[in-house]
Symmetry: C2
Subunit: 219 residues, 2 copies
């Protein structure tokens, strides 16, 4: 009667590996491996120039296996971008919180310093393939996916707005703050193209150079 009450594939399942049921598989790890490999390759070669076979191989899988974790190549790209934005937003919130809890009153200038420094870290630090992929493979995303990523992106950028507004009010930032924000992001994001980690300037140097370039003396 055992044979009758068991679900039809129970026997087959019992013959599998002993310590893992279907629900406990380390799918999360393999998925993460794929994401990391995809981020690195998409950044180095671009989305269209990277084959799903390349990604599979880099993650130690066979050519068909990525499609067990992701519906298609585009979904993998979207996942890389979403992962990147989540990390970036998390780091940004953490950095702002940590800075604010040291001394209580944080000047707008110091706020911007924290934001710039964190942005450069996200862009150029260790494990930094995700955000560059988001910045430079935007057009490879479908409309629906673009919208999803855009929402996280807007959240991330929204944190900057009151800081820049305060700097504008104090005369430390001249001109339309929203145009200034676009140009500041451009100046920082462009560093992806020329920054070399061990060379000449550190991320701290860049941060100070940016503040010097963008900000005036307080009136």
């Amino acid at each position: 009667m055992n044979a009758i009450t068991l679900p039809p594939d129970a026997v087959k399942r019992a013959r599998g590996r002993p310590r893992k049921t279907a629900d406990e598989r380390d799918d999360g790890n393999r998925r993460q491996d794929l994401l990391r490999a995809a981020a690195r390759l998409f950044r180095q070669q671009g989305f269209a120039a990277t084959s799903t076979r390349d990604i599979a191989a880099a993650a130690g899988m066979r050519s068909g296996s990525p499609f067990y974790h992701f519906e298609n190549k585009e979904a993998l790209l979207a996942a890389v971008m979403l992962e990147g934005m989540q990390r970036a937003s998390g780091r940004q919130a953490g950095a702002m919180h940590a800075a604010a809890s040291h001394g209580q009153a944080l000047s707008a200038r110091d706020c911007l310093r924290v934001l710039v420094r964190n942005h450069l870290e996200v862009l150029l630090g260790a494990e930094s393939d995700f955000i560059p992929v988001m910045l430079y493979e935007w057009r490879s995303l479908s409309d629906v996916q673009r919208q999803a990523v855009n929402e996280l992106r807007r959240e991330y950028e929204a944190v900057w707005v009151p800081v820049l507004q305060a700097l504008h009010d104090s005369g430390e930032l001249q001109g339309d703050p929203s145009l200034a924000r676009l140009m500041i992001f451009g100046a920082l994001n462009w560093a992806v193209q020329w920054f070399e980690p061990g060379r000449r300037s550190s991320l701290d140097d860049l941060t100070e150079a940016a503040l010097q370039l963008f900000l005036k003396e307080p009136a």
Copy 2:
């Protein structure tokens, strides 16, 4: 005796289209058509995502014909970039010359205004696919081709150096001028990602916003 003095293929030629000899073929035009089509498609879809068939069709040719004009797909990309840089440098030299010949003494600030305005025009104006392709398809170039493009690029950027140095000397630009140059280029080049021609801000608006953001009052 006419028949004897004519070159051997004169008869054949005489049967062809009446107004064009082999040497007068509009090869230049067809090549230019390919370059224009390639620039537009490379910008919209990226180099790897654009097939040579797409480009041929956009130029009104069959799939094999681009290879009559260019050795391979990479050579077509390099040609787009070189063409873009030549135009950009030409425009830049013209703009500086025209500005300098109005009043004799051009302040460093006015020089920068001319350079920024011209750069935005090259980047965002009409026929503006070539430079964005150069900026965002850099990695798709072979080393040899990269070097060739890089030479033109250095020439273009070299014009900015003394201007920024002068602004630094007068206190209008703070911080290391070479880092400032990289960040200024970044701020401007990023506009490719967000600028919409008919919308809100004009290129003149952007130019003034950039100067406001980057420059201090003269000491």
